[in-house]
Structure formats: structure tokens, C-alpha cells
Amino acid sequence: MKRITLSATCLMASVGLVSAAEVAPENVEYDEYGAVAVSLSGTAGDAAAGRVVVSTKSQGNCVSCHAISELAEEVPFHGEVGPPLDGVADRWGEAEIRGIVANAKITYDGTIMPSFYKTTGYIRPGDAYTGKAATTDTLPPLLTSQQIEDVVAYLMTLKEE
């Protein structure tokens, strides 16, 4: 009796790990404007963690193309390839922002902005920044589902109005 309860708990725990609510990159549903309504990780985003992802070179590195005034003091050298993200939450809702961060090419056809939640469809994909060929057919996405949710949560704090 005791034993059975134990294995049932184990089962529950492992299901929890895989997270039934996580949406894999190939299953993300974009609406016709590129917005994504459903959380990719199933867990609420953490704005503070997202702030780190946005400004860290080995993670989102969004500041290489976007200026964010709120970060300027701590993180020097913001790029100007994309528009400043100040007030982005006034311009877009959460679903639109999630869609842009996950795969901006659906919202903006042909944009230079990389697709952060995508694993296939590349020309000469490499093994990260080594210059060598990728070792697997599908690449790990540039950001995990939780990192995307964290970034979305952070961007939702960038309001000016």
C-alpha cells in the first residue's frame, strides 16, 4: 500500500518536471498577426529574471540591438539596430510581445531580429559561436520557454504612460 502511493507520487513528480503546460517551439500557435496568447512555460514570468536575460550577452542580448533607458546605468553600450524598448508595454499587449520575442519574423516579415524560440529551418546552423557545424538536426532554441516568459514579464513593466 505504502509502496503504491510512493510510485504514484514519483509519477506525478516526473510529469511535473516535463511540465504538461510547456509549449514546445514547433507547437507554438501564432495568430495571424504573430501574437501568442498562451504562456510558453505554463509558469508565470519573473520580471527580474527577464531583465537579466535581456541584458546578458550569452542570453537574450536584446540590448545589442535595442536601447532600454531603465537599464542604461548598469549595462553600457545599447545598440540602435532596433527601436528603443522604452514604453513597449504601452504599444503592445502581452500576447503580441510574447509572439515578437518568440519569433519576430511572424509579426515583422523579414526582420533582422532573431527568432528566439525556434529550432529548425536554418542555413548552415552552427554549434553556438564555435564556427563549427551544429551537431544535432534541431538546435536548442536561443531562449527557453521560461526565459521567454521572464522577458515578456519584464517588457510588460516598460510603461511610460
Binding site: K57, N61, V63, S64, C65, P76, F77, H78, G79, E80, V81, I112, P114, S115, Y122, I123, R124, P125, G126, D127, A128, Y129, T130, G131, K132, A133, A134, L139, L142
Partner: protein, 284 residues
């Protein structure tokens, strides 16, 4: 010897200035080397360039401190390597006991060559870069070992050869037998490689003059090559630069000397037609 240590000091000062901030240079600054050779660093884009009106040397995008290093040969750290190449030029090497000078006399005999490179080699039936011509002479005319594409002797020699064309306008042929290779290079220029899906054009055509993080994006021209980079304190070949840019898109790069990079070199070189040949230039 004294000269050399002076140069090292100058370049580390420049590095400091670089780290301290992006001192934007004067937009209209003129590049006059040693107070006498005026270089064309901005000019009308060649007719085959569809999306740009003006072409600009990478020099125009650099900080005032970095720019200054290229304005005087005593400050240009790349010139030490040119001196080394002069020694190599005169040095007998290989089973035929010949030096470059045995057949080509002085390096001045190479005047104008850099402006046409890379070019169609009739005998080989393909486009050849300067490196390929040099290695052909070493292997087949001197009986000497080939140099590696990025070997010091090779890059230094390409700097000595480039210097003979300093101030002359780039004038790479893109028609005739070279055209198919040029088309291949052009297609590569607009291909979005790697996991970041970025083409050369995304950065160097659509976004030149913009900052990408701390880097002020230039047009990615190669009229200044080989280029002395403060970042790695040596002369860099064209293909080494290409390799770095492709790698930074999280792509599998091509090799130095590969048919792909030769084609890309031809295309990129042709985008600078009209700008002065500047090698060895100074970049960060």
C-alpha cells in the same frame, strides 16, 4: 627596435580610448596619410550596387583615436609587418634558390595589383586571390612550401603588395569569366546564415552607421585589407574577417581559401570599387 616599442605603446593607448567609450569621429574627416597621400574614403557607389548611393571606407566609422593611427606610417602598427615582408621578399627560399626579388625585382612591381584583386586567372580557369598567386610562385616557381592562408609570412606579404597600390581606386572586374563567381558571392552576401539568421547585408547594408552593442557598424568593405586590428594586435586577412563575421551569426563558417570565401571576396571587393586601396589599414 625603439620604433617598435613606441608603436606598441601607441596601440595600447588606443585600446584604452576604445574601452572608455565610443568617441564618434568627425563624419567628414579626410584621410591623408603622412600628410601627402589623400585617400578616397567616401564616393558614389558603383552602378552594380543596387541598395546604396554612397560607399564609405571602414576608416570613416572608427573613433578619432583609431583613425589617427592610420594617418601616419610611424603610428600605423601594420607597417612593422610590411618591413618584415620586405625582408621576406628578398630572402632566397626553396629548391630553386630564388627570392621574390629574383623574378619580380622590387615590390613596386606589384603596383596596382591590389586594386584588381581577386581576379580571373586564365590559366587556372578560376578566380584567384593574392594569396593564391603568392603560393603559386612559392610552390611552382621557387620550390618552396606553401604558406598558410593566415600565416604571418603570407598576411605580411599581402600587406606589402597592398601598400604598392595605396591611394589607387579599387577596380575589381565583375564581368566576363569572373561573372559567375561574382554572382555566387553576391548570393552569399544576401544569405541569412546561422541560428541568428543574419546576412552580411543585414548588418553592413541595412544597418551601417548604427551601433550593434558597442560596435559602430561599417559597410564591411575590404579595401583596407589586410587590416591591423587593435583587438588582436596583428594583421588580419580578408577571409579571417569573413570567418569571424559568419561565426558571429551562430553559423558553420567556411574555411579560409574555400571556393565560397573566394567568391564572397570577389563580390565584397567589387562593392568598394572607387574607394582607395588602404592596406594595411588600422581598425579596432
Amino acid at each position: 627596435m625603439k620604433l617598435k616599442s613606441l608603436k606598441t605603446v601607441t596601440s595600447s593607448i588606443a585600446m584604452l580610448a576604445l574601452g572608455a567609450g565610443i568617441a564618434s569621429a568627425d563624419e567628414d574627416a579626410a584621410l591623408i596619410i603622412n600628410g601627402e597621400t589623400e585617400m578616397v574614403v567616401r564616393t558614389e557607389a558603383p552602378a552594380h550596387l543596387e541598395n546604396m548611393d554612397e560607399i564609405r571606407s571602414g576608416w570613416t566609422f572608427r573613433s578619432a583615436e583609431t583613425q589617427a593611427l592610420q594617418m601616419d606610417d610611424f603610428d600605423n602598427p601594420g607597417m612593422i609587418f610590411v618591413d618584415q615582408a620586405i625582408d621576406t621578399w628578398n630572402q632566397v627560399s626553396g629548391s630553386e634558390e630564388k627570392s621574390c626579388a629574383s623574378c619580380h625585382e622590387g615590390p613596386e612591381s606589384m603596383k596596382g595589383l591590389r586594386t584588381q584583386m581577386p581576379k580571373w586567372n586564365e590559366a587556372a580557369g578560376e578566380v584567384w586571390t593574392t594569396e593564391m598567386y603568392i603560393n603559386d610562385c612559392r610552390e611552382n616557381r621557387m620550390g618552396a612550401d606553401k604558406w598558410g592562408w593566415n600565416a604571418k609570412d603570407m598576411v605580411n606579404m599581402t600587406a606589402l603588395i597592398a601598400l604598392q597600390s595605396r591611394g589607387m581606386p579599387m577596380n575589381v572586374a565583375i564581368d566576363g569569366p569572373a561573372q559567375a563567381t561574382w554572382e555566387q558571392g553576391k548570393e552569399m552576401y544576401y544569405t541569412r546564415y546561422g541560428q541568428l539568421e543574419l546576412s552580411c547585408a543585414n548588418c553592413h547594408e541595412d544597418n551601417y552607421d548604427n551601433l550593434i552593442r558597442a560596435d559602430h557598424l561599417s559597410q564591411g568593405q575590404i579595401n583596407g585589407f589586410p587590416a591591423y586590428r587593435l583587438k588582436n594586435a596583428k594583421l588580419n586577412s580578408i577571409h579571417a574577417r569573413f570567418k569571424g563575421c559568419v561565426r558571429d551569426t551562430r553559423a558553420e563558417t567556411f574555411k579560409e581559401g574555400s571556393p565560397e570565401f573566394i567568391a564572397l571576396e570577389l563580390y565584397v571587393a567589387s562593392r568598394a570599387n572607387g574607394l582607395s586601396s588602404e592596406g594595411p589599414s588600422v581598425r579596432n
